[in-house]
Symmetry: C2
Subunit: 247 residues, 2 copies
DNA sequence: CGCACTGTTGAAAACATTCAACAACGGTGG
DNA sequence: CCACCGTTGTTGAATGTTTTCAACAGTGCG
């Protein structure tokens, strides 16, 4: 619970490599997805000014499940992991948020998930009151909120399919393919593909155990579909072929 | 795909019993959840008048995954099943919509899920253009849309946890407990608890096979936690006890 | 009455987890 | 600087759960 320790330092370096330059907000328009990408330039600038950019260390908790949703967030740099925990030992990661993604922009009373950084990150934060006031003057921004939350919902539905209807091998393959596509859309180098999250994180995202994740990755490697590197993976088949390679 | 056949007639009778009187819209305020419950009386009346009430038979498709989202919907009576299908044989049901629940009120371009009735239903439908126009005059209604989609997202997150982190027995127990609570909130008689959906539907909702659903229900019955009736289930332990009964 | 379907149960097989051990790695403290 | 230590990652073997394949009962319908 209070375990906010850093992962091994080596990982941090890997993550810094995986998340190289701090991209200024103005270039955020590269990404077609994410809450901020849905705002026009002027609104984005003004809204950005109302909040603050907070540098965060590795494994820092941004907010906890059940806590009052007093602020909302957007990732500027790094990766934020959203998860839902029950009984302290079962965790389901609902998504990995990347730069441009808004966190809890549609939240009502309380946070329904927890958020924690994976490696160092830069996060934009704003008081919910300020956010609400900004939006109240610009009704059309609410459209962006709707679109953003609707996109989150679609992503959740896709993940529900993976969780319920895919065998481990296919879960991993889809995960790698989707992750690669998301990073590529942000203009990142995906060859090799950085995997800043731990095996446990991947397991908790896919509804598997750490061991199964390891074994399945090894199996994909033996099959020649991927190459496992420390903190990274090289996809040897294109995303489509990767999925095909396992049924 | 074109299989839109009715389920066995006996089930239909059961469903009519499970979904007894056509509740007029004015009484929809009983439910604290759902899109329509978030509107005030006047707005609800006016909006309702802009769409139409369409009676639907059993297993009718309201809209299909991938189709343009030309209309949005709300369930007035009956149960609508939202699902996501891949390759024609793997289906993941994302949710069972009950009276008051809005369908695709936050949709953008295309439907990301399919919707089909379970048993006879009464559905309110409106062209997306009309809906958008109505909302554009009443910015605060967009808040209701945000709240509604955010609630769907929370529900999806809960379901993701069930799919990824619960064994079959617990999946069934949670499902029964939640379903019972939802029906109770609508003022329905939940003793015995109507189960209008087929075993296959339950399986596709929980990420299991039909056989596992049967076996697990039988196991819960042997344990004295439930009593299985045709088309219904009697919960012998309260929801809390039911969950506790399986770990 | 037969047919098609849903629901149920059994047995075998496949899959993922659990338990266990160990390697690799970086950080810390001597 | 190096050895120790905790963590993460990896692999093996046994276990347990779920699926698959199969058979059969019940039901409504033509």
């Amino acid at each position: 619970m209070t375990r906010e320790r850093c992962r091994a330092g080596g990982d941090m370096k890997q993550q810094m490599a995986a998340v190289p330059p701090l991209v200024p907000c103005a270039t955020a328009s590269i990404q077609p997805t994410g809450f901020f990408a849905r705002l026009n330039f002027a609104d984005r600038r003004q809204l950005m000014a109302l909040g603050e950019r907070v540098p965060r260390g590795a494994n820092e908790v941004l907010f906890a499940q059940g806590a009052p949703a007093a602020r909302c967030f957007s990732v500027i740099e790094g990766v934020v992991c959203l998860s839902r925990t029950v009984g302290d030992h079962r965790r389901q990661i609902t998504s990995f948020a990347l730069p441009g993604d808004g966190l809890e922009v549609g939240a009502q009373q309380r946070h329904e998930v927890s958020a924690a950084t994976i490696g160092p990150a830069l996060v934009w934060e704003i008081a919910r009151d300020s956010f609400a006031q900004f939006v109240s003057h610009r009704p059309y921004v609410l459209q962006a909120v709707v679109a953003s939350v609707a996109a989150d919902l679609t992503e959740a539905h896709e993940q529900m399919f993976s969780l319920g209807r895919r065998p481990a091998e296919e879960k991993l393959a889809t995960f790698l393919a989707v992750w690669s596509e998301r990073l590529a859309r942000l203009g990142r180098d995906v060859d090799p593909l950085p995997l800043p999250m731990s095996r446990k994180d991947i397991a908790d995202y896919l509804g598997l155990t750490v061991e199964t994740v390891c074994r399945t990755l090894a199996k994909l490697e033996r099959r020649g579909a991927i190459e496992i590197l420390p903190g990274k993976v090289r996809l040897l088949a294109d995303p489509a072929g990767l999925l095909q390679a396992c049924g």
